[in-house]
Symmetry: C2
Subunit: 283 residues, 2 copies
């Protein structure tokens, strides 16, 4: 792909930092600029080699950028979009703007409303991460083999969509394209629901008991150690689907509960066997 | 510890097979005998080197054994105990009998009722395992660093209790002693509940969605691939505590659900932060 002259990453945590490292490893930009709210985070990213230059000043950060990636918690994305819209003369630059928010309908609607039509916004969600989410844990290969959802709408600029897809492919990701609405239903079921369950499970167990836990409990709850702010934003920006997922999970748990209560040996066995078979099919 | 002359393991799956390998690696017995219901499982254990001799015949299997370990699914433990009681003249041998069942009140009460007083039964539960549960996956170090619950009652023979504890320590486990009732409350919370949740989560997600899952979903549901029969027995031999655990988990999940429904940003954040902090404290 054609090299970008300047890529600006707003928010250099695990995701932003890993994008920076991936871009630099593959020499996809002449310069990578990091914009943040705290110099301490930016310094971590600089030290890691994820960005070439760092600034707290958004205007100078985005000046001359032909790709801007907003990799902040979801609740901050509209604020940054608004500031970008106010600050810049987009009619000239035709900069591509993308994001990494874990829910897409909320973000895409907001940003299509805020950003001028001359900017080219393409919503994206790299489906990768870790419960350790600072730039210190960033790696150039975080996206290698992982999926990135790209969620265009009828307003999305075709050529910029292609460029954003090519960008993610270039840093190792497998691109999956789907509408924001479908994306949000999907991730509520396979990502929000596991997180809610892990958090609820940890909160349900007393500290006295926790010291005895073994590998099963550990694995089942690993993701509960993820960033609380990020997950709060995810749930609150996709509440309808999050609640729908809780509801279908509860039905599934109720079935097991009823079988134990009624000593329904056959039904319990069939439920556990169905789960085993389905889980084994996941590579 | 003093070498056993003959250790007999009834049921040579992952746990029984790993005990055999651990005993042989550390030369804790002159001979290790495996008893099973299918020659195919016994052959796996023989091939793996987990046992020296194999037999389908319980009587010849336990003849001369000074330690018998019943490592079958829970529902089969009382049947084997009954057969052992009928077959043997225990007044002479004072053989120690132990088991590896994941719930203890049901097993201990049953076996104390079945076995003659001249036999020395000590209930045990090695808190180790894997979703892959045949002898082919057995390892000599499965118990290294893992906990083994030993659950004596007022009827337990003191010297045999010490011997069983020494046996588990000798194969690398950390012995935790507690009454059967307390054990069953504990494992319902930290082991049964995670399994129920993992199974319910897998069953709640459609096959269409499952192909998109990432590491979070994978880890959260790994244990759902565990043996269905083993888990059915676990739930049905400890139903009261299993249901109590489901109930406290549901309360915890309901709290998150309410916070999302009401958009209670502060409460949601506090719940997620509490879970994060508690999870991080688990090594």
């Amino acid at each position: 792909m054609k090299k970008f002259s300047k890529i600006t990453i707003i928010g250099v945590g695990l995701i932003g930092g890993s994008i920076g490292l991936a871009v630099k490893k593959r020499r996809l930009a002449k310069v990578v600029c990091g914009v943040g709210r705290r110099m301490s985070s930016l310094k971590k990213a600089l030290k890691k080699g994820a960005i070439d230059v760092a600034t707290l000043d958004l205007e100078s950060g985005i000046k001359g950028a032909d790709l801007i990636i907003i990799a902040t918690p979801i609740s901050l994305i509209p604020q940054y979009a608004l500031k970008i819209a106010v600050l810049s003369d987009w009619a000239k630059t035709e900069t591509i703007i993308t994001d990494t928010g874990s829910t897409k309908e909320f973000v895409v609607k907001k940003l299509e409303g805020i950003l001028p039509k001359t900017t080219h916004f393409v919503g994206a969600h790299p489906f990768a991460g870790s419960e350790k989410n600072t730039a210190s844990n960033a790696t150039a290969d975080l996206f290698k083999g992982s999926k990135v959802f790209v969620t265009p709408t009828k307003n999305t600029h075709k050529k910029s969509l292609s460029k954003v897809k090519a960008f993610w492919k270039a840093i190792g990701a497998e691109v999956v394209q789907m509408p924001p609405k479908k994306h949000d239903e999907l991730v509520a079921a396979i990502s929000h629901m596991p997180h809610m369950i892990a958090a609820a499970l940890v909160n349900a167990v007393s500290r006295d008991m926790i010291k005895f836990v073994s590998t099963g409990f550990r694995d089942t709850t690993r993701i509960a150690a993820g960033d609380a702010l990020m997950w709060r934003d995810i749930f609150l920006s996709n509440p309808k689907n999050a609640l729908k997922s809780i509801s279908s999970f509860k039905k599934s748990l109720d079935a097991l509960e009823r079988a134990i209560k009624k000593e329904d040996v056959g039904f319990l066995m069939r439920q556990l066997e169905a789960a085993k078979k389905k889980r084994e099919a996941i590579l």
